[in-house]
């Protein structure tokens, strides 16, 4: 297949992300207004929202979570964008990465010059069991009928990975500990705490209540404790799973030729890809996502870059095992080597291949419809060297990427951003 290029390039010139967490007393309009306000403020040379040609908004299932569908015009009404077009995209947890892609394609086609892309979700108004049901709607019908949950599908893949590569649950602890080490450095994270912080908080609580004080030897000992880290769907335990979250994110995209009207520091799209995947029973290989591999190939081909060129990346760590598999599918490491790379510390913030500098979905939070754009927001912030305490230390930071997965791998995207 011939190398596919955009007809014209696209730059990110602004971005916004809410603090993530559980906010039952607010709704998605509030979240999006907050993210939008930060985005407007972030445009270095200023920006008139009336200049936006179109909006693409990702939302997985506020239909289920808050019993309201058709969020496009709600956003248009909120921002004073009526009667210009707004389109909602749905691809489960990859909903807003697909919104981003549609925004890019619209600008590249020449039809629009200035496009707002974003996403949001409100999950806090449902019980944990109901959220599990709502999310399971995005797995395949066969999986739902058999009684699988989201954590169950990823747990199942984990057992296949363990058997194939002769490793076990302990390998996943390294992912959790690494992500939680980044979390306190991200002011927007839902759980801005390291595993050590969690341990100390529980010890303190036990002391205050006069209960037996837990005596964990180290972080892994804490994660082994079934009271501190109870099972959800073997081998996924609480600290393998991302939380239920609310929040919103947005980015302002513009055509390359006008980017410098907005900022002297635009970040450009270098390549992007999107793939689709089979459900569990039809997968050839239970330890890989064909959708990720297809998305990565498309993005690498478009950009002319290789996995070695990616200096840091957000990857879709909805469950700890997923982070390991994605690193392999994206070509950062060979198949079967992902768990070793994490154990060796290569993916730490100060390592040679930082993964999930934001703390990842596990600690930052995962309002599913917002996540794709929230990941790209992190890459954009890092490339502009505005990530504060979690800034990747590499002085020559130029290329970063974000991988987003929808459902149980049915939709995956990979997007590479660059500073030129």
């Amino acid at each position: 297949m011939a190398r596919r290029k955009l007809s014209r390039d696209v730059a990110i010139v602004g971005g916004g992300l809410t603090k993530l967490g559980l906010f039952k007393d607010r709704n998605c309009k509030d979240f999006f207004a907050e993210a939008f306000a930060e985005m407007v403020e972030s445009v270095d040379k200023g920006f008139d929202p009336r200049d936006m040609d179109a909006i693409y908004i990702g939302n997985y299932s506020n239909d289920f979570f808050v019993s309201q569908a058709h969020w496009g015009p709600i956003v248009s009404d909120l921002l004073g964008h009526v009667p210009k077009p707004v389109t909602r995209t749905e691809a489960a947890c990859a909903s807003s990465a697909v919104a981003f892609r549609e925004g890019v394609l619209a600008i590249a086609s020449g039809i629009y010059d200035i496009v707002l892309v974003g996403g949001f979700e409100q999950m806090s108004r449902r019980s944990t069991e109901e959220v599990a049901e709502g999310l399971a709607m995005a797995s395949s019908p066969y999986e739902v009928a058999a009684g699988f949950t989201f954590p169950g599908v990823f747990g199942t893949m984990a057992t296949a990975y363990f058997a194939r590569y002769d490793t076990d649950r302990e390998a996943l602890f390294n992912v959790t500990i690494k992500s939680h080490n980044n979390a306190p450095l991200n002011p927007k994270a839902q759980f801005p705490m390291s595993i050590t912080d969690f341990m100390n908080a529980r010890i303190e609580r036990a002391r205050k209540k006069g209960e037996a004080v837990p005596a964990w030897r180290d972080e892994k000992d804490f994660l082994r404790d079934p009271v501190a880290n109870p099972p959800v769907a073997w081998p996924m335990h609480l600290f393998d799973c991302c939380p239920i979250s609310d929040g919103a994110a947005c980015l302002l995209l513009v055509a390359e030729d006008i980017a410098r009207n907005f900022t002297d520091d635009p970040i450009y799209l270098a390549g992007m890809g999107q793939g689709s995947g089979y459900s569990l029973h039809a997968k050839k290989d239970l330890t890989t996502y064909e959708a990720t591999r297809a998305a990565a190939k498309e993005a690498y081909d478009m950009s002319g870059l290789t996995p070695k060129d990616i200096q840091f990346s957000e990857v879709h760590d909805c469950f700890s095992i997923a982070e390991i598999v994605h690193m392999e599918d994206l070509g950062f490491v060979k198949p079967g080597e992902g768990h070793k790379a994490v154990a060796e510390g290569l993916t730490r913030l100060d390592g040679p291949m930082p993964i999930n500098t934001s703390g990842g979905l596990k600690t930052k939070g995962h309002p599913v419809g917002a996540t794709g754009v929230a990941q790209l927001y992190e890459v954009w912030v890092q490339l502009r060297r505005k990530a504060g305490k979690r800034q990747v230390p590499n002085k020559n930071l130029r290329i970063g990427a974000a991988h987003n997965l929808g459902g149980t791998g049915g939709t995956c995207t990979f997007t590479i951003l660059e500073r030129r």
Binding site: E133, T159, A160, V232, W234, H281
Partner: protein, 137 residues
Amino acid sequence: MGERPFNDTSYEQFINERKIMGSRCKKCGALALPPRPICVSCLGSDMEWVPFKGSGKLLAFTSIVVAPPNMIKEGFDRNHPYLVGVIGLDEGVKTVAQIVGMDAKKPEKIKVDTALKAEFLEKGAGPGKQTFLVFKP
């Protein structure tokens, strides 16, 4: 039985009749379970029904502790977990199903590659009664 469409409804009807029926592409011979109207190997659409024996091995699994509402109704919860998994059938296709006859409270003892055979489990009563394909050692 050739007149039944190659779709999920027919598959479920067969399960209710305690038969595991999938499709075989007449053009390239690829098997599918549940049946497919279009062969994803060669894109052929000329299919025939093929019965599956129901024996295979466990490829991957999980023990679900936090259950969805439909399984909670069946009596599963945080204290009563259940097993589901991917089963590789002898004919060379995979299926996903509940696994019975193994201890869901001790998933660390369960070995991938365990030989399994099909069983039909009836759930519900009256008009809501439905037969499910499950697997056991």
